[in-house]
Amino acid sequence: MNLKRREALRLTAVIGLMAATGLISHAEAAEWNKAAFDGKSLDDVLKSLGGSSASKSTAVTINAPDIAENGAVVPVGVTTTLPKTQQIAILVEKNPSALAAQFLLTADSEPFVASRVKMGQTSNVHALVKADGKWYVTTKEVKVTLGGCGG
């Protein structure tokens, strides 16, 4: 491990400690948002991310299959035409915790992300987008099928 990484490690630890003791609520340096990842619903997550309400928007697009052959890997992409996109979150409504992943965009980022998430069952998938300080949401249902001999 090089010196820089060691330093980064120590810094993360310190920030983590500060967060744990309530000294800071929202660190600038990508502190993992535990409250948001513990949220059970869209509203829970939205609150933990610092929003109060999200308006439905056709400017946000979810690129996900209608049917997933396997719930262990469901490709989900989010794009938006909203200017000044700051943050994107992918939520699976019926998972034990709704938030699967969130993305913090910089001024250099294009408003696009894609990843793969687990889905326990057929469910709505929400894409939450924060642009210019406001929250927007789009929803798409993804069916998860049983497969294989052991179904």
Partner: protein, 103 residues
């Protein structure tokens, strides 16, 4: 020790398309082993991407991201030959950094 990632970065029209595959179990904390004991959650928490010393993208994963995670994002300002560096840190504070030259 964490296994290496695969990082691909391609520039096209001023936009760099970055695709990352990470080797990680992404244990949910909901599964049980053969003896019925809960397997503790073990997953990547944060991923940061830098180019030329500047952070260009950041992600936070929960346990619902698939095993051996895939991440695709795009940013402006990188040129062919520049290096994109990706670092992930998991909930046991294990970490891994890998790089790729933009092509």
């Amino acid at each position: 020790m964490a296994d290496p990632m695969r990082v691909r970065a391609q520039e096209n029209g001023g936009v760099v398309d970055v695709k990352v595959l990470m080797k990680h179990d992404m244990e949910t904390g909901q599964r049980k082993d053969a003896s019925g004991k809960t397997i503790p959650a073990h997953h990547i928490n944060t991923i940061t991407a830098t180019c030329k010393g500047k952070q260009v993208f950041e992600a936070q994963f929960g346990p619902a991201v698939s095993k051996d995670p895939f991440l695709n994002f795009k940013f402006k300002g990188g040129a062919k030959g520049d290096t994109v560096s990706i670092t992930w840190v998991d909930n046991k504070n294990d970490k891994r950094t890998d790089e790729a030259k933009i092509s």
